[in-house]
Symmetry: C2
Subunit: 212 residues, 2 copies
C-alpha cells in the first residue's frame, strides 16, 4: 500500500511526498503541535486526502520514524564487526556527524520525543541507541583504547559524544545567531568535524592521572 510494485525512480509518489513533508514538520514542531493541515498544504492537497495513504496521524508519524531509522542504520551496519581500532571509532563518529548534517530531522524528532514524549518514544530511543551499546562502543575497552574507561564513565562518555553531535543539529539556530554562519554549510560541517575529532583525540590521549 505504501510502495507500488512498479519502479518509481524519477517521480516521487504522493505517499513519499507526504512522508517528506510530514518529516520536516514533525521534526520542527513535534508530534502534537503538527497539524495535518500543514502537512497537506505543503504537499498541495487537502488534509482528508491524507487518509487515502495513511490510516491516521499516528500511523503517518510511525512511517516517518521507520523511514528515518532505516536511512540512518544503513551506513552504520557497514562499520560493525572487525577489530575496534581507534581509527574505526573516528570513522564511526564521522559517519554519524555527516548523517545528521545531511538530514537533521532524526535528531530533531528524537529531541522532541525526549522532551515531550509522544507515541513510540521509548521504542525510538531503543532502536537508535541500543546498538551503540551492544555491538560497537561498548567494546572499546582493550588494546589501548580506553575512552576514559579508568573513570568508570564509559557509557556516559559515549552518550556525551552523541549528544554533542545531535545537539549541534537541534541547536542549529543558535549557531546561526551567535556565529553568524550557516550551520549546514560545507564549511560549518568541516569545523564541526574538526572539533569533534579534536575532542575525541584529546580524550584518547588523556590519562586521567591528575585528580584536579
Amino acid at each position: 500500500m505504501e510502495n507500488s510494485a512498479t519502479s518509481t525512480p524519477p517521480v516521487p509518489s504522493t505517499s513519499d511526498r507526504i512522508l517528506d513533508a510530514a518529516e520536516d514538520i514533525f521534526a520542527e514542531k513535534g508530534y502534537s503541535a503538527t497539524s495535518l493541515g500543514d502537512v497537506a498544504d505543503r504537499v498541495g492537497i487537502r488534509s482528508p486526502s491524507l487518509y487515502n495513504h495513511f490510516k491516521n496521524k499516528e500511523a503517518l508519524y510511525e512511517a516517518v520514524l521507520e523511514r528515518l531509522l532505516e536511512d540512518f542504520s544503513a551506513p552504520l551496519v557497514e562499520l560493525e564487526g572487525g577489530p575496534l581500532t581507534s581509527e574505526r571509532v573516528f570513522r564511526w563518529l564521522e559517519t554519524i556527524v555527516r548523517q545528521h548534517h545531511g538530514n537533521p530531522n532524526l535528531a530533531r524528532l528524537l529531541q522532541h520525543a525526549a522532551l515531550s514524549g509522544g507515541p513510540h518514544t521509548n521504542e525510538l530511543i531503543d532502536r537508535l541507541f541500543r546498538p551503540m551499546f551492544e555491538s560497537g562502543a561498548d567494546k572499546i575497552v582493550g588494546e589501548g583504547i580506553t575512552l576514559i574507561e579508568n573513570t568508570g564513565l564509559q557509557p556516559w562518555a559515549v552518550m556525551a559524544f552523541n549528544n554533542l553531535v545531535m545537539s549541534y543539529v537541534t541547536m542549529a539556530p543558535m549557531y546561526r545567531d551567535l556565529l553568524g554562519q550557516d550551520p549546514f554549510s560545507e564549511e560549518a560541517l568541516e569545523n564541526q568535524l574538526k572539533l569533534i575529532k579534536t575532542l575525541l583525540r584529546a580524550v584518547f590521549e588523556y590519562k586521567g592521572d591528575t585528580p584536579l
Copy 2:
C-alpha cells in the same frame, strides 16, 4: 500587582503558582503545544482566571522566561571579573551544570525554542549566550589557557561544552532508559560533573600536534 505589599515568605501568591505551573508545562511541551487549560488545572483554578494575572498566553510565557533568566544569571555574575585562571573556568562550568541540574526547565525551553521558534526566541538566545562570549569564555586565550585555541575553534568549543551540559538535561529520559538511573539523582550529578571535568581537563592538557 504581582506581589502584594504584605510579606509573602511562606505562602506563594497565585501569580507565582501560575508561573511555576506554566514553567513546567512550557518546558515540557513548548509554547504552542501548551494549553492554558492544563496550566490552570495544575494551579487548581479555571483558565479564564489566568487573565486576572497575565494579559495573555504570550505575556505568561514572557514572564516565565524573565524569571528563569534572572535566576540563572545571578550566580554567574559573581564569577565575572577577576583573572581567568583555569580554575575559574572549572568553577564556571560546574556552576552551570549544577544550575541546570537543579532546574532543567531553562534548557528545555531553550531547546524547544531552537527547534520550533516561538515568541522571543532570538532574544532568549542572545540573553543567555552573549555574556559568555563577551565577558567570560571569549577571553580565555592567554596565560596558558587555550581551549583548543590553536585550531581556531574557540567559540565552537565554548558552545560545544554548553550543549553538552544542556543536552544532558533535555535528553534526560534517554539517560533514564539506557543507563537505568535517575538522571537527576545526586549520584548522576556527580557522574556528570566528573565527565565534564574530565573532558575539559583533557582539552586543556591537549596539544593538537598530531593531525590524526
